[in-house]
Amino acid sequence: MADQKQLTEKESLDLITNMIQKAKGSYHETGIGSLLWGTVVTVASVVTYFQRTYDFSIGFDIWLIVLGAIIPQIIISVQEKKSNKVKKYEDDALNAVWLVFGITIFGLNIYQIIVPDITNEFIKQEGWQLTKHYLDSSKADEPISTFTPSIYSLFILIYALPTLVTGIVKKFKPMLYGALITYVLFIGSCFTISEYDFLLGGVAALICWFIPGVILRRKYLAQQKANV
């Protein structure tokens, strides 16, 4: 592009439109992060569903794979930051939303681990206990520990939040629809037993992250091919 050319008003306006479009279409997510989280959360949720439904154990806590995914995510984030030649206004805001999402999920895990035990201690100090009582008296009453009923429904609800924000801000329909369907899954999970909540959570991870991740990856690879 030469600098000396004298522009007409129409050419100026066309040039502005063209450059704004170029800037808009310049940034493509690699999709790897979405694929990673979509995969690990779907696998962990579905394995938990099968373990609980068919009463078996795979020998380790499957949710450790979600914890383990943080390391590759950090590497992916650093590499993407290095390769991005342009930074958009919404990037910082979206990064903040996903960071808050991560903290919230972590906090909910802490809640799930700590609250039942602490509650047990409190009610023991008060001198009473929770008991499972069979209405038809077919079995004797059994003392039970405090638990957080159907807590995975809350995880499903939280999965939708950053996904919806990203879908709206980036005008990325797969994430937008994925998040909206996840809200429906959340409502459904309120009416199902906890085993099915994990299955619904697996579906939520699939439609919120895995499928959008596949779409992003395809777009990214197509863009890379076009640039060669």
Partner: protein, 97 residues
């Protein structure tokens, strides 16, 4: 009364640079060069003119042992761009009448 078109912006390459930067927070020099198809030398000169006018900020740093130049539009640059577009619209409106 027609507003005069800003001579700093009323040049093909400088207008292209500012139009690219208006929609992003910041962009690397190489990104701007690729999108405008300009030569590095020519682009450097025009970037310097925009910087001298206070329309853009230029940051030079090292990234992985390579020099990296990043450009960012300033609030003065945004105001100038908006005024330029308004003036253009005024001209085009008259052309239609």
């Amino acid at each position: 009364m027609f507003k005069e078109l800003d001579p700093i912006l009323h040049s093909q390459l400088r207008l292209a640079v500012v139009s690219l930067l208006i929609g992003v927070k910041e962009a690397e020099f190489t990104f701007i060069r690729d999108k405008t198809n300009a030569t590095a030398g020519n682009l450097s000169v025009q970037v310097q003119k925009l910087k001298d006018a206070g329309y853009i900020e230029v940051t030079k740093q090292f990234k992985d042992n390579y020099p990296q130049t990043t450009c960012k539009i300033t609030s003065k640059g945004i105001e100038a761009f908006e005024a330029y577009v308004q003036a253009l619209q005024q001209y085009l409106q008259v052309g239609k009448e």
